[in-house]
Assembly symmetry: C3
């Protein structure tokens, strides 16, 4: 019986691990995306970095220039921290309570799809696509949370 | 022997999964709480969102109005990311080193209780209740970290 | 066969749990580091806190004084959230796909070493040491993500 174990023989775990890796990888790439803007625009995050290419850099961390495009990526990155990380954590607990495989697969797929939609809409400034991307991911997280609470309360 | 496995037969895991789900769920709800203010006050987070209801919205992400009540929820949310996420991660490793069930249960209970107190005190501006809520959670995280370090070092 | 299980008999898990606890503990200590500055400089994070020692505190969360040294620690802390948390999450999945023990150990060691270097360089304003610390940790996270994706795709 491997229905609720964390091994490659448990199909629910495999599906979870795949989609979790997709959204974690996407979150990690936000750092790379920030750097993509910072290097060509010469807007590093800390005052001491400016001495590498100019003598008139900002003196304090509070007066470093905030490029709007970089701020946008950073906000999107923070939103990932607020949603992707809880997804992986509650998702792992959800796998361990032994959910129905089909239901679980759809939870993971919808979350990953919504996050990719959300990121695309956020970075390109498309309000109408960002909202459903956010709400879909939020719904999955709330659903998994309630199922974990319900399953564990029975054993306490 | 299920003393240090991640299954519903292990009472330490069940207790952990329950309290972890409580604090993750609370963290997820901070997003909903932010939206609660953003919708009625018409202060969405990105400049393109304003075009849905006004023609005089901010032009840049850097000049979007920062409502103090929303900033408060966002700070509280960030504090959750800094404390709740490490709790779940180190807590999972702590369950896996096979702690005493009574000791472990009190670690999880104190953390969850302190976080609820902290959130209530943060959102309502009550300094004297926020400090112990923060310190209690911090103490639990430090305690679990040191126990995981101590247990794993023996096997390395 | 305990090659890919989460138990103290699996050496890959033990190594992971040790280094994960090191970097989580370091992340948790950033909160303490922030407080170290906040108390002596009397710059608490929220306006209501000022009433404990002055009558001329800021009236709004938006006008609280931002001490540059505290902002530096907070940025470093956020960078931990963006890198350490994904490391622990993808690292756990990586342990579960049963990697080669030597390869896995080096992944964990390099990440932990780079993070300690990064933190030291960030807090002391040393640009040339911060960059490799960041890139080393990023490389480890990308490598583990791709290995988890590759291993799970075979089973789907």
């Amino acid at each position: 019986m491997v229905a609720n174990t964390l091994s490659l023989e448990n199909e629910v775990f495999v599906t979870f691990a795949f989609y979790a890796a997709v959204v974690i990888f996407k979150t990690i790439l936000m750092s790379v995306w920030t750097a993509r803007f910072r290097l060509p625009r010469k807007t590093p995050p800390l005052p001491e970095d400016y001495s590498l290419f100019t003598e008139n850099g900002p003196k304090s961390i509070n007066t470093v220039h905030r490029d709007p495009d970089i701020e946008r990526v950073r906000r999107c990155h923070r939103n990932d921290l607020e949603n992707v990380i809880p997804f992986v954590l509650i998702g792992l607990l959800y796998v361990l309570i032994g959910p129905n495989a089909v239901t679980a697969t759809w939870h993971f797929r919808i979350f990953a799809g919504c996050r990719l939609l959300y990121t695309f809409a956020f970075l390109n400034g498309i309000s109408v696509a960002r909202a459903p991307g956010f709400l879909g991911g939020l719904g999955v997280n709330i659903s998994m949370s309630l199922q974990v609470l319900s399953a564990t309360m029975k054993y306490m």
